[in-house]
Amino acid sequence: MRNISVKRSAIATLYISVLLLASGPLATQALAHGKDGHHGDDPQAQIEQAAANHAEPNTSNDEPGHVDAGAAVHGEEHAEKHSSTPHLYNLISGWIAPYVPAAVADNLTAFIDPIYSLTVIGFLCFFFVTLSRKLSHRDPSRSQAAAEILIGGLYNMFLAIIGPTARRYTPFLGTLFIFILFNNLMGILPLGHAATSNFSTTTFALGVMTFFYVQGIALKENGILGYLHHMAGSPKTGMDWGFSILLFPLHLIGELIKPVSLALRLFGNIFGEDTLVATMVILGYLISKGLGGIFLPEGSAVFGFLPGVPLQLPFYFLGLLSSTIQALVFTLLATVYIALWLPHGDHDHDHDHDHGQDQQEAHGH
């Protein structure tokens, strides 16, 4: 038994290292600077433009062949999609879009986030549905054990924050965690793309979903009057009621800003991480090109096939770490927002409440 697992983990490690090492040249061959404007273009020219633009950002405004200018001419409908930050080609923008008709390619690039997140959803649904068809008490399979560890760990975490009623909210919060985690990890996968690195299509939607879920729970658990009372800062004495006029708009803004803050945090982290990896790929490409310029004869055909130095390798591990932490943070904050609205949950200025027995457990954070 032990031998098998050792063998398997050795194979998995080998596979992952080959994947990571291969992703350097793979990504360098398919490096984009902007999602648009590469139909029928030579990818190598794109790389060189991107590299030149990256190397001399101060002078790039004066160059007539600057990528930004070309993209601006190419199409205004992509103007909001376009940014001057470097990012890598993914499966769709690098390997499918250049070879299909322009109309199809435009649609594919425009819907790239839904496509990738639907892929993740499909994979997760397939995995968990097939898993749940053959659950077993006596002889749990490996995947069942893994899923139980994951979901049990999540449940225990919510239990520590929300208290005994956590079971009611575990399906939504756990799904949130798993979905965000796998979407983040898609950005690390070569030829993958993190749907969570886009604010308007994915993370803001997640934030708004969490907002409505939390408000729904708040209304259901407190009732309309209790909700308004809570929003006014739970006043008890006359002075509290006076202050509640000031507190109400503050709480209102605080509630409305929560989804935006959640979404911005996730988007900023994942987008920054992807940009970091892409920047390192460009740097590795520049280094290998410089070395090639020293050791190869002028105008050699090998130049087009030089693999970049895999400088991005350490940042993939950083990406693994930050993907997990950001998924955890999003979920934990959603959990805390729910816990703050629950009637007997702990609240910063709620300490003169009667201390129920769940107060002790809900004091997790």
Partner: protein, 75 residues
Amino acid sequence: MDGNTLGLALPIGLGLAAIGSGIGLGKAVEGGMNAMGRQPEAIGQIQTAMIIGCAFIEALTIYSLVATLILMGNL
């Protein structure tokens, strides 16, 4: 704004935000580590609270990063 001024201002602003965030994160993690050292049995709860606090602190830098990324188009 002039591209050159913006090109100077954006990294400096982001760096300033990162300084404040770094100090805050350092203090938060210091407190968390002290608490964990004193009460190893409560590590799980302390860690959860620490990560949430760190997320709030880190968000300030992220806002700055987002502003930088938005304004980078004007560079």
